[in-house]
Symmetry: none
Subunit: 95 residues, 4 copies
DNA sequence: AACGTTGAAATAGTTC
DNA sequence: GAACTATTTCAACGTT
């Protein structure tokens, strides 16, 4: 295997090509998304408003995640280990 | 189906959720790419150089596309209709 | 000088107006460019082709910059400090 | 002068180069603007708010009253009491 | 003149 | 927290 300054060209090439394949997939998905917007527009929806809706829904999810994160911090601060399934497991007690 | 001001909520919801699913897939791919870089880095590769290599390879591809695009434009400008398969079909003549 | 909450209104105003002046110049240049295209069109040139030519020329320049950039990265990666004047100094050797 | 299909290469080249020069100037101005923002930032100003201010000043005639409310909010956020005439009167002091 | 397409600008996110 | 990169957004251009 060819190496330059301790660097393997073949190995590097593999990483490069893996990234390129993933980025191609990613670009295809971006296209798919664009097509959904186009279809929605053809059905009379306002894409600008749709994007706003998506943004708000995303923030809701993030907010929920953040709140869960904060809850975890609080529980840790209280010496309580957060449970995986809060509702199902009730037999665990904090010492 | 519920409508508000002539807008179908159910229909809109479907578009929104399709986009959200696609964006989730896209985000996952972005994660995969990040992981590849992390793995490469753990193997001693310089990610900055990797990104530069990727950039140049991408530009090469784009440049090729642009060259083909302008060839088409030139042919049109010269009154020649570009052929689907330039090399295979030779029976078409330009007036 | 009037300040509010440690913020100088007059100072802010100066920055705002400097930006506005520069943006005005920029808008004027955009107009000039539009006029050149209009003039070229009036002389029978296809603006689409012109834009494509400009695009390719721009990519060429960028590609050259990217090439130089990655050369620098490679040299650094190999422990070689890139020289200011690549062509003039050839007496430096890498151990 | 060389012509292809009635197209003058030299003439075209002149148009192309005029556009390139103008675009270079435009790019330089964009850089200057970026530098002004950087300088303002280094002086403790919030560039995001500055951009908002610029946007609102640009709108001027249209939807002025609506935007003034937002401007008021931003200025308040800065701890500044909004002025009646921002640009013309600089001698006014806030009690 | 509205539409889609494309290029530039701004913002958000990531890395060091 | 500063710089760089990626994504998103905005505006202009050509097209129908």
């Amino acid at each position: 295997m060819t190496t330059f300054g301790g660097v393997s060209g073949a190995h590097l090439k593999q990483f490069i090509e893996r990234v390129e394949r993933l980025e191609e997939d990613k670009a295809n998905l971006a296209n798919d998304i664009r097509e959904v917007f186009a279809e929605a527009k053809a059905n009379g929806f306002d894409t600008k408003i749709m994007r706003q809706v998506l943004k708000i829904r995303k923030m809701d999810h993030q907010e929920r995640s953040e709140q869960e994160e904060i809850l975890t911090l609080y529980l840790h601060a209280l010496g309580m280990v957060p449970q995986e399934n809060f509702s199902e497991k009730t037999e665990n007690e904090v010492a």
